[in-house]
């Protein structure tokens, strides 16, 4: 699936988008997998309260299923308007 990063999450991880093959069942599982990879992921996902997630372009929670998802995006709280 495609994993997207925006704003300072993108800056910390160092790229806007990557393709990840995963067996993770939920967003939380995917985060655990990413954090285990490298320090930059550990840093980006250190404080989940500062993060938001969208699965297939819908805002959702960290315990949401990602089974069959095409796209998971991580970003800080939004600041539109």
């Amino acid at each position: 699936m495609d994993v997207l990063y925006f704003a300072w999450v993108r800056e910390r991880i160092g790229l806007p988008k990557e393709r990840i093959e995963t067996q993770a069942a939920t967003v939380a599982d995917l985060i655990a997998e990413l954090k285990a990879r490298e320090a930059r992921y550990e840093a980006a996902f250190a404080d989940l309260s500062a993060l938001r997630v969208a699965v297939d372009q819908e805002l959702t929670d960290f315990d949401a299923s990602i089974a069959g998802a095409r796209e998971v995006a991580f970003f800080p709280p939004m600041t539109g308007g």
């Binding site: 997207l4 925006f6 704003a7 995006a73 970003f75 800080p76 939004m78 539109g80 308007g81």
Partner: protein, 147 residues
Amino acid sequence: MIRVVVQEAPFDFGAEAAAFARGRTDLGAIVTFSGIVRDVADGLSVMEIEHYPGMTEKALEKIAAEAEARWSLGEVLVIHRHGRLEAGEQIMMVATASRHRKHAFEAAEFLMDYLKSRAPFWKKEHTEAGTGWVDATEEDEAALKRW
């Protein structure tokens, strides 16, 4: 009718305001809100707006549809820019048209409150003091509880 526009280019606020709901003689009350890049402190500032192409349009359509479901609205317009904006430039506008001024006002406030915290935009400020992502505020999050 809902119209949602997400674009990098400037838009003509006066022309959009004038054209909005034009000819709808069944709608007596029109509210617009527009947001402008402020000069932070005294140094000239530049605002960079990042967004999530695809999700942005969907999120704005959803927020506008929710407003239409809650209030009696004849027309709804949302325009939001992304990219690099200088102080004084228009970032975005919403417009609502209704038979009733209360509906037009409340719907416009609702659109703004949701757009602030639920549409995937992120602002980065470049000022003389430095560069940084704008933090979401508790005040903006709290504003959603009204609806």
